[in-house]
Symmetry: D2
Subunit: 330 residues, 4 copies
């Protein structure tokens, strides 16, 4: 069998572990693997390299992707899909394994619909691909963000400050709620529920009135407040911080975690998930289970229809929203 | 409501996060919480302390258990169960939340059967409590063991050695297989399948004949070989190491990870799991869902009958055994 | 002996280790220790607590300071110094141990000059207190910043981007140069040398022309460029990032590390340094070596005159500036 | 200039950072670098590879040594030194940079004495090479050992146990004392002072009588006791553990850290030290400062005569021995 492989969309920890697993599993089955550079763009441009156990040696524990990545969707470019089809034929591929988030996998789903044999693997630090409970990269991002919030905690306590920490998550609050709960945040602001800055300020006030001398507020970058005073080009975290100063008078500091959330060495859990997904994708190819998504359900690897990813972002479930209410100040 | 709480069996990371979550959730519901020291022994001896948000402050990210623990089973001591019942009455408890592995929860199940209101929370770095897919402490132990195996890897490669790493796991190979796969071990020896030391030696030989200059062999302490040459009082890891020297002639070194696997700061994932479990146990108490086990299924907290834990250790599932075969040398 | 203790200025990792060492060493010598809250402000306001081995148990490995801190200089407030003197007399202190950076220790030095028995301990993540080669907190901050730069590296490589990372350091570039070199930054911009954004852009261009597809630029917040195009209220990192886009056309991203650099668990090296400094300060008190600074020189703890801290920030030494030139692109 | 490079003796974190720095610095000066495999053995056997910025890319943060290593001393083999000389001539080398501990550098010193141009770089997790205050690998080993002791602490406290942790250090107690102090060990047993197991047991007893419920005892593998009861083939840690059980009756557990102490990713401080040393060695070669040791003194890189390494192991200094007495129970 000849297998094509690409990683698309934003980078995250565990992509290399998935690449290695595809190559090792394929090698054991005497398959060949070619990797496309820069996601879908490399398919369109025919930018490939042969992947072997030797060329993927030592990448299991490294961050990023050795194939590099790009945010490029062939179905949004004139002639893009045809170029993909041609490239796959030129490389005589029996299957294309696509590792990506909802954008990359969305393209995969629409291309798969025209009979091109594709298998998807979900990755995103946002953990919001529909059809799987876990995406590659999420566990590491939660660990990284939680550690950063831990750090900010000690500074807040030492200086009697309100610390606002903005984490990634435009559409969903997975990262904010999991990292926030893991790090004992006092409040967590999510896209999943419209917030009031006045209520948040009141809750902080009560918290401090009851004896606390510092607070840590985690804000997903997609969180929305219906009553923010500050406006402008700043991030939501900046707005929250400046409004809290205005409303409470407490010394307040903002930290925007930024790109460190998606970089670095993958956690053991992400390496294991990515390894499981990569090997399972090759097994699925052998079973000719095309147009499917390798996914994680009830502590097991399962296949789901690839088109499931088109259902839109998977929101944070009720039990986490409840926890975020029950264990925080608002 | 008056809630009793104990942690029993071997310590692991995340116990304090569970204690904190019970206390915070109870406090929000205006419940009182008393903690028993040293597991079941503290119940029998009436060794308690009142737990409050203030007294549990700052423990979320710490290892071990502030309540301390012991391996003591009241149902195996004359008058033990009666003493438990009496203690619960003396403390006027409405429910006893028991955090433990199969031993501690086994006692909980047998005591619960005589109408004492008990709710169980599973914890063990072995991850093998029946009735849940995840136990508190497992994620951290995998991360710790995988990091140790990573370290051993670089030494093996630098010195052209075979490195044998013995990890915990007497009955099941959860820790060995997850940490071994996450760290790219070349072979993983599990209690789940009877092994041959001669086949392992042959596989190592072929691995090196094919160009490798080092190998990392992960051995669960409960792994069995039907044809080991060495006998004696040494651990299975020591036996494997000395047999490999005899059979292959390669320079071989043994590392026994020991207690570091169960200590230390919990991972973000364990803090979140423990927090979810602790809060859910209090919710279950309010729902009078006694004799139940708080458990993790399909990315959600669920309640299962507490007696499920009596079904014996939950073995490593097929997909992990397959991965351990497919991605290693034997 | 009765010992007073305070931590002042910005918090950093290792302050608690220093507090613990003062208390343990004092306890062994049967001295009493009282801790002032919020730095110098607690001395002026008489806000104290008694410190004992029991009350400082478990703080060795925690970030921040259990005494809390503030940026307050009694010598800059009317009656401040008199209030300090009075407070010390009211508490019947034989010595005041002051843990701080150049601001806090500057006040200590001027107060010590009026015959108040003071011993200073240097701490700052900037590592620029004159009179010592190492300050508490620096090693941890370098490790934290280097790890963050590592993370940004993998994202840059995966996306073919120029990554600009702004680290702390207003007056000196200790943190930028040490973390930058440790993490293999391609360029390091320091307050110690006036930079040209055009030269930096040209160097990045040559770097990419020679085959590199990404670059990591570390910028100390106090770095200065004589020819920056962008102006405004943004940080120097933001200016560098936007200028590089304009001059090179490369996709560029900015990460401002912010408060995570000063928080979190201290490294082993910082715990050891802080423990050495804390114990040495008590020993110095017994030797009546007042008006001295506990300092680190040639792998040893030494005492220097406290007034040494008034010499101004200790700049990055020549060999580090040379390294930063020799091993980077500009 | 043509530069030869080797890494010898036990592996440790930071060797790759030193290799990278030699190559980058040499490349900037238009020098060529060849690396010998397996330490001195590769010189004798002519086993080399050309090292370039491309071939050393990405190794800065990796453990071990890409050149691999061996414990081989040419001066102890018939014709060994002549073979070294011949190999150096065949490769037309202007200088040989030798990275090693006292064994490897001892050979370097004796070979350098016959007019072969050699520059030494000290590395060892034992930190005991004479002529330098820091060796590559020590900082990381201290961090690794301290983290392991931290983990053991929480288990000891949870179970009311005496935990014995055996760390590396046959001749000197650098690692034991620095990691032990950093992790708050209750007692530290070093080769530098002859110990009494009865006194240690009495101190543990008093510690527990005074209210402690657990103790952590760090033992260097070279520690000696004049009155140990147990004899046999076990390690000193095993002897201490079994004697403490016999003398105190407390539940006691042993952890032998083993190879994890020398493996893994180097700390930021080790990367910086190794980078400084590697670049300085090339500078020294340009200055024709042969027969010298690149060393660390008073926060600076300095050159010392290479023969300094023959003075024997550098012992733990007085201030650390004093700290180990003052802050522990014996």
């Amino acid at each position: 069998m000849r297998i094509g492989l690409l990683t698309g969309g934003g980078d995250c920890p565990g992509l290399n572990a998935a690449i290695r697993a595809v190559v090792l599993r394929a090698n054991a089955a005497r398959d060949d693997v070619v990797g496309f550079h820069h996601g879908w763009r490399g398919v369109v441009e025919g930018d490939v390299e042969t992947l072997t156990p030797a060329s993927t040696r030592g990448i299991l524990e490294t961050g990023g992707t050795m194939l590099r990545t790009a945010r490029y969707h062939p179905d949004e470019h004139e002639g893009g899909v045809a170029a993909v089809q041609e490239s796959i034929e030129r490389q005589r591929l029996d299957v294309l394994i696509v590792v990506g988030g909802d954008g990359t996998l969305g393209s995969a789903s629409s291309i798969a619909s025209i009979e091109i044999p594709i298998i998807g693997i979900p990755k995103t630090i946002d953990n919001d691909v529909a059809g799987t409970t876990r995406c590659i990269g999420f566990d590491t991002a939660v660990a990284t963000a939680a550690e950063a919030i831990d750090r900010v905690h000690t500074t807040g306590e030492s200086h009697d400050r309100v610390m606002v920490v903005e984490v990634m998550g435009r559409s969903t609050g997975w990262l904010a709620v999991c990292a926030g709960l893991a790090a004992g945040a006092d409040a967590i602001c999510l896209p999943e529920r419209l917030m009031s800055i006045h209520e948040l300020a009141k809750a902080v006030q009560s918290h401090h009135d009851a004896g606390s001398t510092s607070s840590v507020i985690v804000v997903a970058e997609g969180a929305e407040f219906f009553d923010c005073g500050a406006t402008g080009t700043g991030s939501v975290g900046a707005t929250v911080a400046s409004d809290l100063v205005a409303l409470t008078g407490y010394e307040t500091r903002l930290t925007v975690l930024g790109h460190i959330q998606r970089g670095g060495m993958p956690s053991a859990a992400d390496r294991l998930l990515a390894t499981s997904f990569g090997a399972a994708a090759v097994d699925a190819a052998h079973d000719r289970a095309f147009s499917s998504l390798v996914s994680w359900h009830d502590d097991n690897v399962e296949l789901r229809p690839l088109e499931t990813v088109m259902q839109g972002c998977r929101p944070v479930p009720a039990y986490l929203l409840k926890l975020a209410s029950d264990l925080t100040i608002c």
